[in-house]
């Protein structure tokens, strides 16, 4: 009897504790958890925004947690799988779209974000940039940045190789090969200086446009067929095969990331692909190189036989708000997002991020940013990156095909055949 009584008591206490823990408070202090990726330049200004926001809203504490951009998608997924996602997060649209598709994020609260209504919010942005986060008449995210990539060029390395950077910079992919061959220094088979190298993990942003230039597509216009245009794909895969260690040995995914090593100006890379934000990172990493005038930005190259003029795809990092947190906290989260995004010129000036509002694009700050016109012109030639619930898997399949021809010695024909089957299977599963 005593034992039974003890058990009942334990169950009652546990139940009471559980009930207390899940009670939602209607007022009182609140903590907003904000997960984002590392960027020292952004951290500096956003921590100041947090201090200002907390001073204006004394009951609110913002907890800003940063991780590497590669780690964020995985951490978010694990947290959301356990229904413990943060209030605010941002991730690339290729990863973020799944949260909209699975109804895990709340529609933007336009009034809380500082707009008169939903129409005013939509009108504030460049047409089309909110499309990837719109569904069923609602908008589910606000852009922290809309980014496309061009090529950063180190003039010193060009001159060291006997090239004139202003004249000899590559306009076509064929010229990228020629220039890279002229710049490359090898110790036997080992590259000690590369002319250019790709950003290998980001195949959808940096490489699919090469296929599109040649007339191919990742997905057909009607959305039913994957890997369209065999000739274009074969030409692209052959180009990558020739680029790698089994071909002309101009670069490889196993060398240090070209974008990271570019900032060091160590005479080991001449060109790397990146966004407008790279200038701010050069300034942080190597102020002497930044102010030397020895770097410039050139447009995304085209193939000589291109049938479409296409530049790098652009992608967005969108702020989203977890729908599973209480409505009062959702509203406060949007209010804070709105406050951060009310400083687009500072984001551009200090961090190099473009928040695509009509006001910013027409501002002097944007027009006077070094090389902003290169990115702006390329963006007009680019498409939004492929985004779907399974875009990460689609990217992996393209990666497999490129690695197969570059590293594993597989023929482009065989790699393409395998890619077509797998990509179509993936598309059919949707």
């Amino acid at each position: 009897m005593k034992r039974l009584l003890f058990l009942v008591l334990c169950v009652a206490i546990a139940g009471a504790l559980w009930a207390t823990g899940t009670t939602e408070e209607d007022d009182g202090p609140m903590t907003i958890k904000f997960w984002t990726h590392e960027d020292p330049n952004r951290t500096e200004i956003e921590e100041r925004y947090i201090r200002e926001f907390e001073a204006a809203n004394p009951d609110v504490t913002i907890e800003r947690v940063t991780n590497s951009s590669a780690k964020v998608p995985e951490l978010l997924l694990t947290a959301f799988a356990a229904n413990e996602g943060p209030h605010i997060f941002n991730t690339q649209i290729e990863d973020g779209y799944a949260y909209i598709a699975n109804a895990r994020v709340a529609p933007v609260d336009a009034r809380a974000a500082g707009y008169a209504n939903d129409s005013a919010l939509i009108d504030a942005y460049v047409p089309g940039v909110l499309d990837p986060v719109s569904a069923g008449g609602d908008v589910y995210g606000l852009p922290l940045e809309l980014t496309n990539w061009a090529i950063y060029l180190n003039k010193r390395v060009f001159r060291d190789a006997g090239l004139d950077p202003e004249v000899d910079y590559p306009r076509t992919w064929e010229e990228v090969v020629e220039v890279s061959e002229a710049i490359a220094i090898r110790d036997g088979q080992i590259l000690t200086r590369r002319g250019f190298d790709f950003r290998y993990p980001y195949f959808l942003v940096s490489m699919i446009p090469m296929v599109e230039q040649l007339g191919g597509q990742l997905i057909s216009d009607d959305g039913k067929t994957a890997i369209v245009g065999d000739e274009a794909w074969l030409e692209f895969l052959t180009y990558m095969q020739q680029w790698g260690p089994n071909g002309m040995n101009l670069g490889s995914p196993t060398y240090t990331n070209a974008r990271k090593t570019f900032n060091q100006d160590n005479n080991d890379i001449a060109m790397a692909m990146s966004g407008l934000y790279q200038a701010g990172r050069i300034r942080s990493d190597n102020a002497e190189f930044y102010s030397s005038g020895d770097w410039m930005v050139i447009p995304y190259p085209q193939f000589e036989n291109a049938v479409n003029e296409v530049a790098s795809a652009y992608y967005g990092h969108y702020y989203m708000v977890n729908i599973q947190v209480p409505e009062r906290e959702q509203e406060m989260a949007w209010k804070f997002v709105g406050y951060m995004l009310s400083h687009p010129e500072e984001y551009l000036d200090r961090v190099g991020l473009v928040q695509p509002t009509n006001a910013l694009m027409a501002s002097n700050t944007f027009l006077s940013t070094p090389y902003a016109e290169v990115f702006a012109q390329d963006m007009e030639l680019g498409n939004i990156v492929y985004y779907a619930e399974d875009s990460a898997r689609m990217q992996e399949l393209v990666k497999e095909a490129v690695e197969a021809v570059m590293l594993s010695g597989e023929s482009p024909e065989k790699a393409l055949a395998s890619l077509k089957v797998k990509a179509q299977e993936l598309l059919d599963q949707q």
Partner: protein, 298 residues
Amino acid sequence: MHGGIERKLARWGIAFVMPAVAFFTLFSFYPIVSAFITSLTNRKILSLLRPDFVGFKNYGYLLGSPDFWNSIRATAVFTLGTFIPLLIFSLVIAFFITGMKRGQRSIQLAYYSPAILSSVVAAVIWLSMLDPRGLANQFLNALLGTHGIDHRWLASSTMVQLSTMLVYFWKYIGYFVIIFITGLASIPPGVYEAATIDGANRWQSFGRITLPLLRPTIAFVSIMSMLQCLKTFSTQYLFTQSGAPGAPINVITLNIYNTGIRDHLIGRASAMSIILFVIMLGFTAVQLRVSGGEKVSY
């Protein structure tokens, strides 16, 4: 009266065992059952909708998937290529260390030190060495008297498999050496003394005394090292994140991670983890049977 004392002792025994049983139930048994139930559904990691029951459809899909069979191949190659050298070399090294008159402790410490590093740190250290401009190429070129040869430690399909084996071997050899040294120390010295008096040389002692009496330790090490190899993940994960081709080293655990986290298909990933669990259980049972279990007599 006697039965009362036994019952009382048994009660204490149960009390002491209960925390371990509860721990196992909560953190091992429950997840296994939960994974099995999930494997029978089409659950997606982000979906809030109730998943549909699909029976053994996930298992059927996996058994017909070339990608899954490639993972089985990659896991088998890695396990055989790592656990057999681990077993043989750790035993041989332990035997030599035991026979050393001086410096035993220092050697043990040197061998064991990689085991205390996290797998991620170990993989990062090796990544810098296996870089085309890293120490691995320089060392091998110096050893072979060649110049500027890129051995493609991370780039070629064959070499990247060898590289993952190398990292694992380096990391775990010391751990198993220590276990073998403990096993060797438990063999009574009198047995060796008797054999020496009878005229046995060192190799005869090793073959006729050490190996048979070390059978429980060999069984333990072979099971542990094989299970470790089957569960390998972080080395392959970090290598693929750093540009190494995925297919040659896409071991089952990496495939489970990618299917569950990257592709969001947690039902299918659970099915894969159940298959891996059954494989591990089967191999353990076979090894226990082959090695004769724990039985040894002096």
